[in-house]
Subunit: 1016 residues, 2 copies
């Protein structure tokens, strides 16, 4: 049972008040924000503020080698001295500075953590684990499930918590846990999303625990202490449970309100009684053993009255017999009157079963020596309303008429193994009590594991032995009667003391849950990961989390309205199991990922154990109630998604990041095995961007085009080159990466960004082309802008870089796309409602030309455009056959496109062509002379080839402009640069001529492999 | 019902034989290996062999711009002509070449695919979907589940197959499916692992289908055709089912053996009867409607005899009455004798129920007009052995003594909704029949979707109407009697013909399954993805897959030994559902991933539909039998893992690759958001390797060290630089990447490799440092070798590159590790059994020094080593306090290490120091003069600083050697290079002096951030 108390209270009540977890968490969180939360800001190690000590180190002779960097790499001795002062003093000092509430002054001298394992962990755990279920339900569980299966239930629950304790110990000993407990441990090791989800589960579990305790206390009160206090009375004898539930609801609500008031006005009183409560628990448990031993020699008098093999409800008659002797007369007993319609004993209007069976009185608690355990070994699960029977008694099996009138003891709920697991599990919770108080421990890293594990061992042993003792001492028919559960205490050892003790212990546990839960909620709220909880982070002037208390009260009231302990227990089981599940998960994940920071001082953990624990939690959740489990997981999932959606950027450093790193690495390593099959080919773009002087993207439309081509899928790397020396340009690099990333966000390009510094732009681009990407995530296509100013510029680098990049892509077997007039390309908001995307398929280099329009058409901008494919037929081609073949080919490619074959006959070279060639060569010549190129080549040879090429360019341009002048986009094979670098400049001219008069052109070069296939 | 036949057979039996799917698959696979399987080898597009046509193109005037590359980028016209000849001719030619079996010669002239939608898809699907369940179980299902729930069952099953058909249509129309069917479609779109698993599921499903058909046939034979043939007779009247099962087993085994022989010797005969079987099915179905209409006007005579409201077993008496009039006497009837122990009618030794209830005769098939449908609307699920009752008849509910003696009709299995789903589902399978014959279709891409969907629509309508008609015509008590199921046919329209027809149809279906399954197995085996199946790939001389047939027979025998149709049906349901699930998955995944190649001609698919289909398959699996479902999934999972483990590297290009690409991209994009928290910091290494002239790794121990540091986790990028021009060095790059990858494999470094070509090594390294990695997967630590020959070499580049790299790492905020004497580092096979890892912690730069030994100790080589931490105390430090502080710090870091504080007092500078300094400066001077450095600096200033530094180096080295000479590894802060580049050479000298006399040294520089934290 998780309650949130500090153990036997010393007499410094103010500091004791502080040590309540909620409050602790409050101030720790403040520190956490500034130091623990983000080491980068003000870590003690890299502090650059106290320059005085540095000065001294500067000219330390023995460290002369390191002297130039001592400002950022401090001497170890100075670090250590600062470190120690930090851990000893800063804490108090910081708090003082940040104190804002009235009671802050009390903390000026923080209580030094001084609790040992026994007082700090063992006893709180013990107190929190033992709880109301042991008092109210364990006997019933033993009776119903039998000794063997009860043993199994206890074993399952306890081994689950034991495994969780092991995982928790590992987490708790992995570094300084300033304070905080389970929520902080999980949120700091699994990240805010899981942390928040688990924290809220823990909170809900604790809140429902409060409701359960209150219900338990009311049950004790109404059934065993003062039954007369019941407000609602059953209308008739067989409608008892409804009235009882209403009594529970009324008294529960009253009790909850009172407790909430107590918590609100005087939380310190709650704590004062902690040791008293613990004492109650321990005395009660000791009395079990005492009673059991006593029963060997002197079994208690506890007769039960049986009719046939059925147990009779005791309060409805006085004498266990069909007749009583009054004076000398044998008159019908009360029992007789109950079962017969007439008082006349000779009347035959009696219940058939009553007539045919005998009334016997048996010993309800035959004691340890009686061997009754053999009868109780195997359980007897019952339907609701089924009459309790003692199998070993003989009975005539006749259907009587009084079965439904409440004379027999019957089961008040249907039972099954799984149900009992859910009801018992709360008895195993509470294991976090020790770690919740890590702030108060002298040596948390030693105390938490030892104390917690010892406490679980102790409680498990008590449960196991109780199961055996109950089974060995008590008659099964008594055990199975839910109403008797508590009477046992009467007969075991000292009677009334224990009932009252249990009552107060239960009330106290309820109070403590009601104290702890709001503080936990406050801590979560203050972490600010769940915005709508923010209001619960505020406290009253006295530090009480008023709003949180109110919410807790409301949720607990829900539990009380359910009114049945047996219904509430599985609910809180779920939430605690969720929490434990994540503790195990956190441990398993970090162990498997081998995070370097995962170095728990507690060594006896293993990922397999945590995994087993996790599986057991999951199994227990689904065993005890699969629909509750789904609901609880749904709630946790929603919280997770909500926090993720809110984008909590708590730099706590979570294990989950390591998980996605591992996942990325695994996926990348899987991809390594070479280039994908043609079927899987998809453009993975490297977009080369030019930046202007202010490091802004010069042509953002390049990114727009990339985003349209990808429609959000596949890899995009955006690269850019800064000219300079890397040693000096780091800042510039960061700035331009940021600029590019911003632009990528605006243009909705999902991808990566890579800016390199190089002494020559050309080399930088070559490096980008070579080394961008990782493993299988490499680009296969380069997108590059057109060097618009090349003709105007006298600097030949403008086009030399361009041609060099073309050559590089070819050498690297990459495809290349050059969008010309990229500024005229549509933005992502435009929509073409008609028009064509024209493909001029002149040579086949892998099918990129066919694939690109298909990909573009996936995007909204281009969706309405139609695709046209033009190809060129020479003189000797059969253009009709070609058209037919092309149409078939496209059909097989499953592409919808209009097909046109353009006939181009060999024609004479026109005067215009000669003129253009001449112009080009003159210009080139002039520039060459300006650049003092010495070697004059044989111009004639070039001339001829130049003229032929210019002829092609002019003719093709003519045809293309003729057919595609109104196309939205023209895709065109890009001719390769000449093998002889002499002709580079002419090549630029040819490309210009080829694309002249077209608004938007995309020049495409394949990467030397097929990218489209007719096969499935 | 999936059988594997070709529809109404034309009279060309040899080609018909070929068109059996199994055979088709056989030869298609051969082609697949060479052309379809791997386009890169002999794709028609990039063929470089037929150079004759190229020559012609070379000087094509209109393409002069492209002429230089026409060898690798062919003209479109020549491509198209080759393409056409490929698709028309190659197929036959290839087959001829590869023919190896005797019947290959028959294929020389391949049958041109000429089937239309009706004959090629619709009718085969129709025949395969209708099956034995319709004849043997549908009436019973209607009776048990009622009309409404039966409607629901049919709806669930049919909508599941309809959704699957939609997904399958999309897959089948996504490109040319040369032949092959479902297995090929799935394996080619989901990869060999899934393909193999699904293929085997399909195979097992088909094999169990064979068993089911045989059982169905035997059931018809023994129950309705020749009941006298039963070998085993029930020992007494109430032990009928055991004997019947044994009869089934014996006759089933005989039948299976006979069929196997038929398949083995004369598979062609099987096919001849396909149209006959179809005709049988169609006639039977038509007769349902005929019978139903007839029943309106003239309900058939089909009396059933009821005792009270219980149905009596007909064959045990003659007259439906308690007495018969023989002559003039009223004598007890046979029925009377059955129920009474004495023949005397006045005897009272009769069954109580018999006495108190009347015998009535009711009409079993009241007909469509009777309104009986109201009674049949809701079903009546029964326990095993429960007596069939007609609710509307009155009955005195007395417990008689004859209930268990088999006089009443009782349920022979316990029924439930979920069970009936499992039994009915085989009636909906068989939808693959059309796509299995894609090779024979004129236009597969049109016929498959239309034919399959129409066939499913037809069969669904027949099922729906049958459910209604059965419910509307027949008395519920009759419907629920499993034994009556078949008698219905007697009374509907033409009686005996149909029984015989159904029998032959069922036998035929069994034969066809038995023919198809081995061929499917053979196809899978020949794909060679599951090595242990290889033996089943071989055929006999006549092409029969003998071994596969044998295995199929054995598995089918298992099904027959189960002996109950109701038990076998769910098994095959599972396997078919698995197969359908994956078809849906393949479609959904490819749609969601937007693979560019995913362009199905069939447009009416949607990922949500496929997903729904997938969910329905999964739901149906778990609904009909969750344990079978788990077993089936387990089998599929094991096959998957086995194939994955065998590392099948079929370059089919699967959709799953796209999935891991997407996963990698997603994981990487998640990681993008900046550097990780200190808690998550782990070394992500960039290992800079030097290659020798032969492109081999010069110091493989660098990789060994990296692998020891990582212990297999985290990111490692291995980088290297080749000096030269990228345009010329592509091959070299590939070669060295391969060499490095091989070495990485040997040294067990899992990671990525990146070789860049740069004109200067220094620039290449700078680029690697800048641009390696992607997104969040960037290196944070550089590992670099020591430039061993720097003192000997006259080339200053040796150490300049080194120092430049140090500066680069600092500028890029990366950590740096320099293992010196790396060749002495231990290999991965060595194990240090003792010794120390010594850390000399002189300045604090983030904690790398503390973290590295911890990481190394995770590896087997270093596990036994202990860690020692030395730090240096200056004169003014309190070394005792320092030691204490340091120990505390390490305790909080959870590191186990011995702590030592070494006191270093300011001492005079020794003569040795002066000497070393002088030597160093002289050497430096000399070199500088050699390099004609003109500017002579003020040596005095340097001198002083140099002396101080040399003093530090000498003193530190003295202490380190003194304390750590026997350490396994010494870790040391690496001093930064001087701010003034003038001192670079001296810096090298200082480092040499600092590490002199130590065997293994690791110089470490932090990256300017904390990498270790005391916090959890």
């Amino acid at each position: 049972m998780p309650h949130f108390t500090v153990v036997p209270v010393q007499d410094n009540s103010p500091s004791n008040y502080d040590s309540l977890e909620g409050v602790n968490w409050g101030y720790i969180r403040n520190r956490d924000d500034s130091s623990h939360g983000n080491h980068k800001e003000d870590s003690p190690f890299l502090s650059s503020s106290d320059s005085a000590s540095k000065r001294n180190d500067y000219y330390d002779k023995n460290l002369a080698l390191f002297e130039e960097e001592l400002d950022i790499r401090p001497k170890v001795s100075s670090l250590l001295s600062r470190l120690v002062s930090y851990t000893n003093v800063t804490q108090g000092a910081k708090e003082h500075e940040e104190a804002e509430s009235a009671d802050a002054s009390r903390r000026q001298m923080p209580k030094s953590p001084n609790m040992g394992t026994l007082m700090g962990v063992y006893l709180p755990c013990l107190q929190n684990i033992f709880g109301v279920i042991l008092f109210l339900r364990l006997t019933w569980i033993v009776g119903t499930a039998g000794v063997v299966q009860s043993f199994l239930i206890v074993l399952m629950c306890c081994s689950c918590t034991m495994l969780t304790a092991i995982s928790m110990s590992a987490i708790a000993t992995n570094g300084v846990v300033p304070a905080g407990g389970a929520y902080f441990m999980i949120s700091r090791s699994l990240g805010p999303e899981f942390g928040g989800a688990v924290g809220l589960c823990f909170y809900l579990g604790t809140t429902f625990a409060a409701a359960m305790y209150i219900l338990g206390a009311i049950e004790i009160f109404l059934k065993y202490l003062i039954p007369q206090a019941a407000i609602f009375h059953p209308a008739d004898i067989h409608a008892g449970s409804g009235a009882m539930l209403n009594n529970m609801r009324v008294y529960g609500t009253i009790c909850l309100s009172l407790m909430a008031v107590v918590v609100f006005v005087g939380v310190k009183y709650v704590n004062k009684f902690a040791s008293l409560f613990l004492a109650c628990v321990i005395i009660s448990i000791v009395s079990i053993y005492a009673g059991a031993i006593k029963s060997i020699f002197h079994p208690p008098e506890f007769p039960i009255c049986m009719l046939g093999n059925r147990t009779l409800v005791r309060d409805l008659f006085d004498v266990c017999g069909k007749t009583v002797v009054v004076g000398n007369d044998t008159v019908p007993s009360q029992l007789w009157k109950n079962f017969c319609s007439s008082e006349n004993s000779s009347s035959t209007h009696c219940d058939e079963y009553f007539l045919q069976n005998n009334v016997t009185e048996i010993q309800g608690i035959p004691g340890l020596a009686s061997g009754i355990i053999n009868e109780n070994m195997w359980g007897d699960y019952m339907e609701k309303g089924q009459i309790l029977e003692k199998a070993s008694l003989s009975s005539v099996d006749v259907h009587g008429s009084m079965e439904t009138f409440g004379f027999y003891v019957s089961a008040d709920i249907a039972t099954s193994f799984t149900l009992l697991v859910g009801i018992f599990f709360p008895s195993a919770t509470g294991i976090m009590a020790g770690s919740n108080r890590s702030g108060d421990l002298r040596d948390a890293q030693k105390s938490i594991p030892i104390g917690t594990i010892l406490a679980i061992t102790t409680t498990s042993l008590v449960y196991f032995s109780s199961v055996v003792l109950f089974g060995a001492c008590i008659e099964g028919a008594v055990l199975r009667d839910n109403k008797f559960s508590f009477y046992l205490w009467f007969v075991m050892y000292p009677p009334w003391v224990i009932v009252i003790g249990s009552f107060f212990s239960t009330v106290g546990a309820g109070l403590q849950s009601l104290t702890g839960a709001p503080r936990l909620l406050q801590a979560i709220a203050k972490d600010n990961i769940i915005p709508f909880l923010r209001v619960f982070g505020h406290g009253k002037a006295n530090g009480e989390p008023t709003w949180a208390l109110l919410l807790t009260g409301l949720i607990a009231e829900l539990g009380i309205l359910i009114a049945s302990l047996d219904m509430v227990a599985p609910i809180l089981s779920m939430f605690f199991l969720m929490c434990y599940l994540f503790v195990n998960l956190a441990c398993a994940v970090q162990t498997l990922l081998r995070t370097p920071n995962w170095r728990p001082r507690f060594r006896y953990y293993h990922w397999a154990l945590s995994f087993l624990g996790m599986s057991m939690c999951l199994a227990l959740m689904f065993i005890s109630s699969w629909y509750y489990a789904i609901v609880a997981m749904g709630i946790a999932g929603m919280i997770y998604k909500y926090i993720e959606y809110q984008g909590a950027e708590k730099e706590w450093g979570d294990g989950i990041r390591g998980l996605s790193l591992s996942a990325a690495r695994y996926a990348l390593l899987r991809l390594e095995a070479g280039p994908p099959h043609t079927k899987n080919w998809r453009p993975q773009l490297l977009v080369l961007l030019k930046l202007d002087e202010d490091l802004h993207v010069k042509y953002p439309r390049m990114l727009t085009f990339a985003s349209q081509l990808k429609a959000g899928k596949g890899l995009t790397i955006v690269g850019s080159v800064i000219q300079g020396s890397f040693l000096e340009c780091y800042g510039e690099t960061q700035a331009s990466e940021q600029a590019i990333k911003n632009m990528m966000e605006i243009e909705r390009v999902k991808g990566f960004c890579q800016v390199v510094v190089a002494s020559k732009v050309r080399e930088g681009i070559a490096h980008l082309i070579q080394s961008c990407g990782l493993g299988g995530m490499k680009h296969n296509t380069v997108v590059m802008g057109w060097p618009y100013g090349w003709r105007q510029s006298e600097d030949p680098r403008a086009w030399k870089t361009f041609i060099n990049t073309v050559r590089c892509t070819t050498a690297a077997h990459l495809a290349l796309m050059v969008p010309k007039n990229v500024s005229f390309y549509p933005s992502n908001h435009e929509r073409f409602t008609d028009g064509y995307i024209d493909v001029w398929w002149i040579v086949h280099d892998g099918g990129m030309l066919m694939l690109l329009p298909f990909l573009l058409k996936q995007h909204k901008v281009w969706r309405k455009c139609k695709m046209r494919i033009f190809t060129v037929a020479q003189m000797d081609d059969n253009s009709i056959q070609m058209k037919k073949d092309l149409a078939t080919f496209l059909y097989q490619l499953r592409l919808e496109a209009e097909v046109e074959v353009v006939e181009m006959h060999n024609s004479d070279i026109s005067a215009y062509t000669y003129e253009r060639t001449l112009m080009m060569e003159q210009r080139s010549q002039m520039l060459k002379q300006m650049r003092l190129s010495s070697a004059e080549r044989d111009r004639e040879v070039h001339d001829q080839s130049n003229v032929r090429r210019m002829h092609t360019a002019v003719k093709l341009n003519e045809v293309i402009v003729n057919r595609s002048h109104d196309a939205r986009l023209v895709l065109l094979n890009m001719p390769g640069p000449p093998r002889n670098p002499e002709g580079d400049e002419n090549y630029m001219e040819f490309l210009e001529v080829l694309t002249e008069g077209l608004e938007r052109v995309l020049l495409v070069r394949g990467g030397g492999r097929e990218v489209i296939t007719i096969y499935s």
